[in-house]
Amino acid sequence: MGETITFWVLAVVSVTAALGLVFSRRAVYSALMLGTVMLSLAVLYAVQDAPFLAAVQIIVYTGAVMMLFLFVLMLVGVDSSDSLVETIRGQRFWAIVAGLAFAALLGLGVGNAVLAAPKGLEAVTAAGNVPSLAELIFTRYVFAFEVTSALLITAALGAMVLAHRERAEPKPTQKDLSRARFVEFGEHGRNPAPLPGPGTYARHNAIDMPALLPDGTVAPLSVNRVLARREAAEGTLAPEIVKALEAEALEAEERVSEEPVRHANGAGGVTGANGTNSANGTNSANGTNSANGANGANGASEAGSAEESPATGPETGKEAK
């Protein structure tokens, strides 16, 4: 009786979660739904005299595989949501028809089968589930097992090879970077120094507190753009910060004729905060720097790849056509 209740509860949960997995617009939700299904199945395994598998299911799937999924999701962009509009004609219709037909066929098959009462595993797991499994794995299935080890190593190697990117040019040394910063300064007047931290007169040493210049005004460089955007939306942005950003925007507007717009994308959200497109170039560079703070090198490489992609994108696009 206990098993029946467990089954029905988990069946409903897992089917619902599976449907959610398929129909949710956000990949993260899908991942969580998948986790739910896996956990439910783990319990069902346990109920069906497979405690070892239940544990493996939780450890391997819910632990490792789901983590990988989530990690990749984060890498790819967690907050994008997919469009569910179908682009291939007839695909969805036929998918559902085929799915229903397949389900009907499987149901028919299962329903038609005449099954005796389950034999149960007591006889074969007299020594306990795990030892019995171990005995089989290391005797009859030992070759398959060994092959899986090779498979796993190959997979690990494969993942490394696939994810690895060969460096096309030597890694810039500190000297190169420093020189580049000053070249930038000379050409565009970009500040070569590190961004200022929270100011001396800040009320507390927090990341959301802008630094103050000696005259008590806010140093625009030190404004955290992400927070500024959120606060601007909430209407809680401090007036002195608003003023500092406006001054900076004004200055940038004067410079715009000299400097062509170079970045079409990037942390565009910042520009949304002060409502000026013209300051795009400088703002985005600053924004990235400030947002990433500690791992500046990583951020630089990200920006680098971001610069590459628009260049390569249209070309590959043309080839594709």
Binding site: I88, Q91, W94, A95, A98, A101, F102, L105, L106, G109
Partner: protein
């Protein structure tokens, strides 16, 4: 009297009678393979082999005469030609030896004549090679003891004729005429070949001896079919209706060729074939024999009519050749009574026609190769020897009493008259027309006033050309009397072809004979009125419908063009079109269809993984479904 049995014999000169063929063949081979190196002595070698062959022929003839008449049919086995089908061997009998003597004799004279005639031709050596090749092939034709060997020679003379007519290959007309001759001959050969197939199927042998001795008794229909098929072959080679059209065009060849091949020897092969097969396939009164006489009489008249209208001296002579061979066929068609006359006329015709052709060649030689008789006239004074010899030939052919043609032609007319009065009177009519057109020819050429081109400086030909003329004219005078009087030739020939039980007797004043003479005289007189006394216009007048009809060879070429050439061209074009568009179009269409289909099917490969996945999924569903269905059956 039936023909005698064939006995194998290989002693004496007869044993090496293959030399007859081998000598000229060797000459041809040396001259063709030797190339320019043999240019200097080529003509001499050519003459030497022909004469040597003649000498061998005479020796064989002498040895043959030594046999008892009933044993004068000797087979000389040579070698196994096609195992299982036929051996190669020679048949020496009165018939073949007559031909051998004619071919090598007249052939040698023409060879000699050609030395002079072709003296200025850079390719004289090649000419002699071809002449030798011709003599060899012709000898094989008449000597072979089986139909396959005969066929080899038959086509061999066709080849030689092709080469010689087209000797001046750079002239498109000559090349076309040569090709036409070969192809028309091939039509005849088609009949001959099938005739031989039928003979082999019916008698399981193709040798004359084998067929004669065969126990098989094929149906009358088969025999008639064989006869008609052989007749078709004979028509091709002997330029009889309906395959006559090539002979007139063949005059494009050098004149000695016309003399040798298209008058004296090759064209008589048909008569030889009919005579040789006479006892077996053309028995007296059979359908095949009647067909032979009809063909003969039709050609006799057609050739004569063509001869009346031609202004080209060689074509007029060619028409006359057709006509004379028509006489021979006619005689051959009436059975043993006619064979001897046919062959005798063939021999005398060989002499006087060669004489006249060579005479015509001599005239052309003198007149810058002009052939139009309207531009001759009055040549008798300038070329006395040519004129005299030509005159002999002319008198012989029209049947002037006591000359060769008189005896042989009269013999034919008499024997035909006994056979069928209608045919006989038609033959008499033909003789009358002969009298007219031959007189016309002689008057236009040698009499009347000069109508020469400005640059013509006629002169008598050199001795090397005139001596053969003289010898031939001597033959033209006496040969007929020698052969016919006392039935000498008929008796000689009897072992080979048989003879009537009752030997015919010579009636110089029979009704037919007198009528013939009267008609010939009338024809000659009419010709004198029109062409001897009256002015001959240099440009041919338009003439009546009949004249045009005769000038255009009785519309034979037009008929051939309308019936065979144009539909043939049309058929060829259709077949080529069908091959390119139909069969190949089908193949290429299939290929294009497959290509097109796969090009379209290719579109299914959209590159969308999900589409592929869908098809996999649907496929899996179908498989599961199928498994249920099959599992539940």
């Amino acid at each position: 009297m039936e023909p005698a049995k064939i006995i194998e014999h290989s002693g004496g000169v007869i044993g090496v009678s293959w030399l007859l063929i081998a000598l000229p063949l060797l000459g041809a081979a040396v001259l063709l393979l030797g190339g320019r190196r043999t240019d200097r002595f080529g003509h001499l070698l050519g003459v030497a082999t022909a004469v040597a062959s003649f000498v061998v022929g005479v020796l064989v003839f002498v040895q043959l005469l030594g046999f008892d008449p009933a044993e004068r049919r000797l087979a000389v086995p040579l070698y196994d030609f096609i195992p299982g089908l036929t051996k190669m061997g020679l048949l020496i009998d009165p018939l073949s030896i007559s031909f051998v003597l004619l071919i090598t004799g007249v052939g040698s004279l023409i060879h000699i004549y050609s030395i002079g005639y072709m003296a200025h031709d850079p390719n004289r050596r090649r000419f002699f090679a071809y002449l030798n090749l011709f003599v060899a092939a012709m000898l094989l034709l008449v000597l072979a003891d089986n139909y396959v060997g005969l066929y080899v020679g038959w086509e061999g003379v066709g080849l030689a004729s092709y080469l010689l007519i087209g000797f001046w290959q750079h002239k498109p007309a000559a090349a076309t005429a040569a090709k036409k001759a070969f192809i028309v001959n091939r039509v005849g050969d088609f009949g001959l070949a099938i005739g031989i197939f039928t003979i082999f199927t019916a008698f399981n042998s193709v040798s004359f001896a084998g067929v004669m001795a065969s126990e098989a008794h094929p149906s009358q229909g088969t025999l008639t079919a064989i006869g008609l098929l052989l007749l078709l072959g004979a028509c091709g080679k002997s330029a009889q209706l309906p395959l006559q059209s090539w002979l007139l065009d063949a005059m494009e060849g050098p004149t000695p060729v016309s003399a040798l091949i298209h008058a004296a020897t090759m064209v008589t092969a048909g008569v030889y074939l009919v005579t040789r097969s006479g006892a077996m396939f053309f028995p007296e009164g059979s359908t095949a024999a009647i067909a032979v006489t009809i063909v003969g009489v039709a050609t006799l008249l057609a050739g004569a009519i063509i001869g009346t209208a031609k202004d080209d001296i060689k074509k007029a002579l060619a028409g006359s050749t057709m006509s004379q061979i028509g006489y021979m066929m006619l005689a051959a068609g009436i059975g043993p009574a006619g064979y001897a006359f046919a062959i005798a006329h063939l021999i005398t015709h060989g002499f006087f026609k060669a004489d006249m052709f060579l005479g015509a060649g001599s005239v052309m030689h003198a007149m810058n190769d002009e052939v139009n008789m309207r531009k001759y006239g009055g040549l008798r004074k300038v070329m006395p020897i040519t004129f005299a010899t030509f005159l002999v030939g002319y008198l012989a052919i029209i049947g002037f009493p006591l000359l060769s043609g008189y005896f042989t032609k009269d013999g034919i007319i008499e024997s035909v008259m006994e056979h069928s009065a209608t045919l006989g009177w038609l033959a008499v009519l033909g003789a009358g027309i002969t009298g007219f057109y031959m007189s016309r020819l002689v008057f236009m050429t040698f009499f009347g006033q000069k109508r020469w081109e400005a640059d013509a400086h006629p002169h008598e030909s050199p001795a090397v050309m005139t001596w053969p003329l003289i010898i031939l004219s001597v033959g033209s005078i006496f040969l007929g009397a020698f052969l016919i009087l006392g039935n000498r030739f008929m008796t000689f020939l009897a072992p080979a072809v048989g003879r009537p039980e009752e030997l015919p007797s010579f009636h110089p004043f029979s009704v037919a004979g007198l009528a013939t003479l009267a008609l010939v005289a009338a024809g000659a007189a009419f010709a004198w009125v029109k062409y001897g006394k009256a002015e001959v216009p240099v440009v041919a007048p338009r003439g009546s419908f009949l004249t045009t009809f005769a000038r255009r060879d009785l519309y034979g070429d037009a008929l051939n063009e309308a019936l065979f050439m144009r539909p043939g061209q049309w058929l060829t074009r259709l077949a080529v079109f069908f091959d390119n568009r139909g069969i190949d179009g089908l193949v290429n269409g299939l290929a294009a269809g497959i290509g097109g289909t796969s090009g379209r099917l290719r579109r299914v490969q959209t590159g969308f993984v999900r589409s592929y996945a869908l098809s996999i999924f649907v496929g899996a569903a179908i498989l599961v479904g199928a498994w249920f269905v099959v599992g539940n059956l």
